[in-house]
Amino acid sequence: MLEVRDLHKYYGAFHAVRGISFDVAKGEIVGFLGPNGAGKTTTMKIAVGFMTMSSGTITVDQRDVVQDSMAVRRVIGYLPEHAPLYEDMTVTEYLSFIADVRGLRGTLRAERLQYVLGVCALEPKRRSGIKTLSKGYRQRVGLAQAIIHDPKLVILDEPTVGLDPNQIIEIRNLIREIGERNTVVLSSHILAEVEATCSRVVIINEGLIVANGAPSALGAALTDDNVVQLELGADSCDVKGTFAEHVDVAEVLVAETTHRGCTITIRVAESCTSTKPMIDLSAQNGWEIHGIVRPNATLEDVFKSLTNSEGEPQSSLILANETEPHVEGHAEIEDADIGDKS
């Protein structure tokens, strides 16, 4: 549906997008994640044909966004950052304007207007002036505008930025609903955002793609299987000392006191394949075991470890098959590692 190939964008001398390639297959909801200034907005503006690239190509539905701009614009719905709207119009006036420019006529126009007002829960505000709307409603008007022509590809730039938690949940649900009919690409600098809504995430930092895959798969790829976390009914100092001396323990990562005793996170030696020695050790010392897990890396960790830019070349984690988007190379890896291994 969307193919980005070796995309570069210079703003004057500033190299904002430095050669990114990724695909979005039909039906996916892809999160385009990166810190502020990573180049998300730039990439999206180029994809929708608002700006031109310095080099590289983007195709939408097999059509080049530069050569075939009009055809591409017809199949794309775009919500720019901050949902710019015409303040002096009412909701219905605005959506009607978009419908008119998009060439919707007659009963189809009326149906689509009714549909987006319903889906975006704008019915109660249809006659309100846009300048009187809250940020949450404005964002919904922006979304309504983006889907009014039932586009094949919906591109949303930071759709939940500036919303309060309830509004965020509403917008997320709305995006999921849109995602059932249309292919969606949304950008965000918030991990929870893409984890909540997206089947796949493309992480970009300083104009380069640093990761691409299902949120859970990215987590799994970064998960250190040798890390074990135990919750014990004992004093953290005793525990720490005892574990540090054990042959199967490579390193004690964290030891904290909790209300039930302590939590200790250790990395076991490569040779150690089970958690049994840890359990035995606790039993020998008479420490009650409240819990034992092998923690999974979260997208948070992925993000941190990949976007920690000190100007050094970054490692990158590409799990999705870039050239053949239809291959399920980014299938979810189940959280099989969670739980008690004893």
Partner: protein
């Protein structure tokens, strides 16, 4: 394109701008015509209508170049700056319409305001016709309105272009003044002394008031019409180019 025209027209009437423009234009031109003793563009003195009782609208039309030159920038200042500042330009330019369609849509909304204004101003020739001893000769009046419309559209085109360079309405307004006032006055008696000799033929060529004067006298010189049309086309074309260039930058 029709949708854009409709949107722009609606937003004119949603804001005070259209009303202010129409009101000012009608009041200023009518006041000048009926009550003030004025000077023609060539420096000749003109008495107001109640003194002369002359069944001619020459004195009425003679205010048009300046009145439009001052008031049309008001119509233009919002056009592009608002789109750029609020970011709606992004939505607009990613809809399946071409830049020229957007520009023509906006431009035709401005022309519509002009047309409405001129239609309302017909009350002046109508009342002159009622009051004057001899009836009006409508030929020059029709000519005058055609000329005024062409001149007005040239001002609109200039202002629309100027507004496309900035995100600030005030700057757009000033920029339009800076270009359209010299255009209005060039070659007239008002600015005869500061105009150097070598510039004077050029000033007479480009000056809107000088051009309009001959139309207003009822001499429908095709060259004058063609001049206003060319200015319109040129500036609208430049506007399309600028909008495209700003977008792709």
């Amino acid at each position: 394109m029709l949708a854009i025209w409709r949107k722009e027209l609606k937003s004119y009437f949603n804001s005070p701008i259209a009303y202010i423009f129409i009101w000012f234009f009608l009041v200023v031109t009518a006041l000048k015509f009926f009550f003030l003793r004025g000077e023609g563009p060539q420096g000749q003195l003109r008495d107001n209508f109640f003194v002369t009782q002359e069944a001619s609208l020459t004195a009425y039309f003679s205010v048009f170049p300046i009145a439009l030159g001052v008031l049309v920038p008001m119509l233009c200042m919002r056009m592009w700056p608002e789109e750029y500042k609020s970011g709606t330009i992004e939505t607009l330019m990613t809809l399946p319409v071409r830049a020229w369609q957007v520009v023509i849509g906006k431009f035709s909304a401005m022309l519509s305001i002009l047309a409405i204004t001129f239609a309302l101003s017909l009350t002046v020739p109508w009342s002159v016709n009622e009051a004057a001893v001899v009836g009006l000769d409508w030929g020059p009046i029709i000519g005058g309105y055609v000329g005024a419309f062409l001149m007005g559209s040239a001002y609109c085109a200039v202002g629309l272009l100027m507004s496309s360079f900035t995100r600030e309405q005030v700057i757009a307004l000033l920029a339009t003044f800076i270009v359209s006032l010299p255009l209005a006055l060039a070659g007239t008696a008002y600015v005869e002394s500061p105009t150097p000799d070598w510039l004077s033929p050029i000033a007479k060529f480009v000056g809107f008031a000088v051009r309009f004067q001959s139309i207003e006298r009822g001499v429908l010189d095709l060259r004058d019409m063609f001049y206003f049309l060319s200015v319109t086309v040129l500036f609208v074309y430049l506007n399309i180019t600028v909008v495209e260039a700003r977008r792709l930058k």
